[in-house]
Amino acid sequence: MESNAPELGAKPRTNNRNSHSRRNQSDSANHRVVRKLPPRADNDRCNIYITSKTDFKAQQRRCEELLNSGVKEIFLHCMGYSITRGLNLALRLIKNSEGALGYTINTSTIHWWDELHPLCDEDDITFRQRNNSALHIKIFSNSLFNIDVPQLPAQPALPKVSQREPPKPHQQQQQQQPQKAKAKKQTTRSQK
């Protein structure tokens, strides 16, 4: 039961009624501020973007299921309001794992561009830059089985020289070698 307890004390106070009107007043009368979606690093399964709207337990369950399904590391990205929530989530995950998970934290600043939409015909659209702090938490499972053993570079395959064919001229062999090196690199990349 404890592992599933809802988040306590980290919920930002959103029922501040005056915040909205104040924000509207701060805009000058000539434009309307339109916010855009923040940029994302990647949109695959392992990158989880924390919002303050999503249910905390749902987020926790999502992360746990991901980690249990054999994913070695997940990234929690959180920004502004939801930083506390992201931290809580990460701590909860690590606490519940009983030492099976480790974490690393990076901070960054996200540069946003807001659009200022004009309200009269004479103006053109303008932009405003805004910064927001962000947190990127990497959670990885530090069990021994998951440690990546760096693979030794494979031996270059010897060129097949059939007995029937006459030995190739020296130039051709030189040309072939870089190609094979490339192929090797590609295979190592795909293994990673």
Binding site: R17, H20, N24, V34, P39, N43, W113, D123
Partner: protein, 822 residues
């Protein structure tokens, strides 16, 4: 020769004595009878002959009885009847074999025949195999997939990519001087609804705008539709204030005709289909004579005009209706980026030209995570290679949002000759496949001949989706619109679906609009009114198809208008006494004034009274969100809660009860007895009539020698009148008849109606979009303090027309009513 010849005349020995004289009156009576008989014969010829036998000789044809088509058309029906009675029916032929029907030539003929009534889009056949098709607005359009894809389409719109064909939008090209266009559109639009057509941010052609169109200087009434528009970007080396500019208006087909008529009226345009031109005479021989001659004119009529063309008298303003000239596909959802990036291969003619700059920018832009991260309503031109495979991308250049290249929106699609050339030079799929079979050794690898194929210009238009995070999740409904030239629709559509876009239909347009908390067609636009009346007809027909014991008794439920929202009467009932004296009773409009809407939203949040400028006869669009369980259907009532309801709410919250907060007490149905009596009377009357006919028949049979048939009943008018009367008795009285019939129809005061409702996946509750009157909203705000002086949240009650339960719903004013395109 002993022939026995009987004599006739008595004088010659016969039996008959001829009279010596004839009385005239007897003769006249006989003649009269004869004439009567002749007339009757002429009116209803009883001929034993068949129709084709009765034709004069010169009109008879061989094998006429077998082929009704050989008969004159007016006899065909009678001929069919005659032949079918005989049992040998030559008319019903066997359907031609499938093999015959599927031959390409016959198939195409069949398609052409079927397109006579409704236009088809280019992707019609693809859709017709997979979708339920409906007739709408002169087109045959895909409504919803035959598979169960409702939820899948929602998921596509929020996480993946939803693809819809909206090529039925009519493009109207307006060409003229900027000043005259500005003056004209000032009469059709209003600055209160947002930016006008000639706003500076749109004039460069960098962004697509949308504007609410009204009938000529009738704002706020006479709403036509919301139209999106784009200006043709200026070519290089032309100053900003060039005289003639070109504008594309994208009109919804439901109101396209009306809008074009309004444009004609505003810009004084005339059709160029038929025009009188001065007669060009040969160079004059004698100057004197020509001066004396009056100018002569001739009328030029174009037999076929591909696009309707209008212009004013001196030709300075031109209007061209480009119907079915473009394909417009709508992609919704963040994955639209990937779908587009992988399906469109940019074509670069040279490394440092317009095309290269556009291609670089496009590729970089499509690599972002969501379309919302780009400039909202951005227009991008792009040349793509048709049917080609992938190639390496370019380096993204700088900040995409701030520094798009100047030439980004340019596209040869604006030029008519270019479009014609594109349509002419298209390579058929068959030919392309043949070439590939010859050239491609490895499947899926680009061939050399593909570089020689013509590049297709496209226009990509960004749609920002939701921009108000307080109203709806930021970026919901964002995506791209792709405009492709005619004839390339199918190829593009197949490519997009191949890369994982989920195709949707008209139903998805509505559901995306509802999920984003708005409506596609507002209640006062032409399309909205038409759709509402069609839906009301449908509901009414369904109601009377049900057996009487399955019909909801709306009189018992105290519902005044069960099938449609009576906006006129709602507005009439909520008008204050001062305003009722004004002549414009029975008109209403949706409030689109952005500042007023914002102040109303502020008032709702801060519990202040509404501003005074809000007109009395307007409707305010709101989004309702149900607080607890319950479901809302279209056309539900929005009611004002009473103080007791607030108390009941607290009680229910403390007891964790889920029951409806209030139940409408059932009203007595005064017509029930009348209906029963009417029904029994009607039955008795029909029986009596039948008994009378039976008696008549028996009486005739006593004296007749032949078999007597019973007289036909001929009671159809009687039955129809009875049905009408019954319908009238079933339905509640028309709200037009009595005053206050809508506002005080039930135990809670009604101040609005729901237009679209359903379960919203974005909000995870039942949501509805409806319209309320400002008077009702004012009432709601003024009664927000309970007996202990506590502030209450502004909420209203919602009730389905066929239910007695009132449920709580929160109210939120939609600020983006005007100029919102989904």
């Amino acid at each position: 020769m002993s022939t026995q010849k009987l004599e006739y005349d008595a004088r010659m020995g016969g039996r008959i004595t001829l009279p010596t004289h004839v009385s005239t009156y007897r003769y006249a009576a006989g003649a009269l009878n004869e004439i009567k008989g002749l007339i009757a014969e002429a009116l209803s010829p009883v001929s034993s002959k068949l129709i084709f036998q009765s034709l004069p000789k010169h009109m008879r044809r061989r094998a006429m009885s077998h082929h009704p088509k050989r008969l004159p058309r007016k006899y065909r029906h009678a001929h069919k009847n005659q032949m079918s009675k005989g049992g040998n029916d030559p008319v019903i032929r066997k359907r031609p074999s499938r093999k015959y029907r599927r031959r390409p030539d016959n198939l195409l003929k069949e398609y052409v025949r079927r397109q006579r009534r409704h236009h088809w889009l280019e992707t019609h056949i693809w859709h017709a195999k997979r979708f339920h098709m409906v007739d709408r607005w002169g087109y045959r359009l895909a409504n919803a997939s035959c598979d169960k894809t409702y939820r899948a389409c929602y998921r596509a719109s929020v996480q993946h990519c939803l693809l819809q064909d909206i090529s039925y939008y009519t493009c109207v090209e307006l060409q003229g001087s900027l000043e005259s266009l500005r003056m004209g559109f000032a009469r059709l639009t209003s600055p209160e609804c947002g930016l006008s057509v000639t706003a500076r941010t749109f004039l460069t052609g960098r962004r697509e705008g949308s504007v609410d169109l009204f009938a000529d200087s009738q704002y706020p009434r006479g709403a036509l539709q919301r139209a999106s528009f784009m200006w043709r970007p200026l070519e290089e080396g032309v100053t900003f204030t060039q005289d003639t500019r070109t504008l594309w208006l994208w009109l919804h087909p439901s109101a396209a005709q009306a809008t074009v008529e309004q444009l004609q009226r505003v810009f004084l345009l005339q059709s160029r289909r038929q025009q009188t031109l001065p007669l060009e005479e040969k160079p004059a021989k004698e100057q004197k004579e020509q001066k004396e001659k009056p100018l002569r004119f001739w009328t030029q009529t174009k037999a076929f005009e591909r696009h309707a063309h209008y212009s004013n008298t001196n030709g300075s303003i031109q209007l061209l209706v480009l119907r079915q000239e473009f394909n417009r596909f709508r992609l919704t959802g963040p994955q639209a980026q990937r779908v587009l990036a992988s399906s469109l291969r940019a074509h670069r003619r040279d490394q440092l030209g317009v095309q290269a700059a556009q291609a670089d920018y496009c590729e970089a832009a499509l690599r972002l995570h969501s379309p919302n991260e780009l400039l909202s309503n951005l227009i991008m031109g792009l040349h793509i290679r048709t049917k080609a495979e992938s190639c390496a991308g370019a380096v993204p250049a700088g900040n995409l949002l701030l520094s798009p290249p100047e030439c980004l929106a340019r596209s040869p699609l604006w030029q008519r000759e270019e479009r014609e050339r594109l349509a002419r030079g298209i390579m058929s799929t068959h030919h392309y496949q043949e070439l590939r079979q010859q050239h491609a050794v490895v499947p899926g690898v680009p061939c050399a001949f593909e570089d020689q194929m013509q590049a297709v210009p496209l226009l990509l238009i960004q749609r920002p989706g939701s921009q108000d995070p307080e109203y709806k999740r930021l970026g919901y409904g964002c995506g791209w619109d792709v405009i492709a030239p005619a004839k390339y629709g199918m190829a593009l559509w197949l490519t997009l679906t191949m890369w994982g876009a989920r195709p949707g239909g008209l139903r998805e347009l509505d559901s995306v609009a509802r999920e984003s908390g708005g409506e596609q067609h507002l209640a006062d636009t032409l399309a909205g009114v038409k759709l509402a009346s069609a839906a009301a007809e449908e509901r009414r027909a369904r109601y009377f198809r049900l057996p009487p014991n399955k019909r909801t008794n709306y009189r018992k439920l105290a519902v005044a208008s069960p099938f449609s929202a009576p906006w006129k009467h709602l507005v009439r009932d909520w008008q204050t006494t001062a305003a009722t004296s004004s002549p414009a009773v029975g008109s209403y409009h949706v409030l689109r004034h952005r500042e007023l809407l914002e102040s109303i939203g502020d008032c709702l949040r801060l519990h202040q009274p509404l501003p005074d400028q809000v007109p009395d006869d307007c409707l305010i669009q709101i989004q309702l969100r149900l607080k607890a369980r319950g479901h809302v259907k279209d056309n539900a009532l929005i009611c004002l809660p009473s103080a007791a309801d607030y108390k009941q709410r607290w009680r229910q919250i403390s007891r964790n009860e889920q029951a409806p907060v209030h139940m409408e007490p059932p009203q007595p149905d005064l017509n029930e007895r009348t209906r029963k009596e009417l029904r029994s009377d009607h039955k008795i009357k029909l029986k009596r009539l039948r008994a009378r006919r039976v008696r008549e028949k028996r009486r005739l049979q006593e004296t007749a020698t032949r078999r007597v048939h019973i007289r036909p009943a001929n009671t159809a008018p009687l039955v129809r009148a009875h049905l009408l009367e019954m319908c009238r008795l079933w339905l509640p009285t028309d709200p037009a008849e009595t005053s206050d019939s809508v506002r005080r129809q039930c135990s809670r005061e009604v101040f609005g109606y729901v237009t679209t409702a359903g379960f919203s996946f974005t909000e995870a509750t039942v949501c509805a979009v409806g319209y309320v009157t400002p008077g009702g909203l004012q009432h709601l705000l003024s009664n927000l303090k309970d007996s202990k002086g506590r502030q209450l949240q502004p909420m209203c009650l919602v009730r389905d027309p066929d239910s007695r339960d009132y449920r709580w719903a929160t109210v939120q004013v939609n600020l983006n009513v005007a100029a919102q395109t989904f």
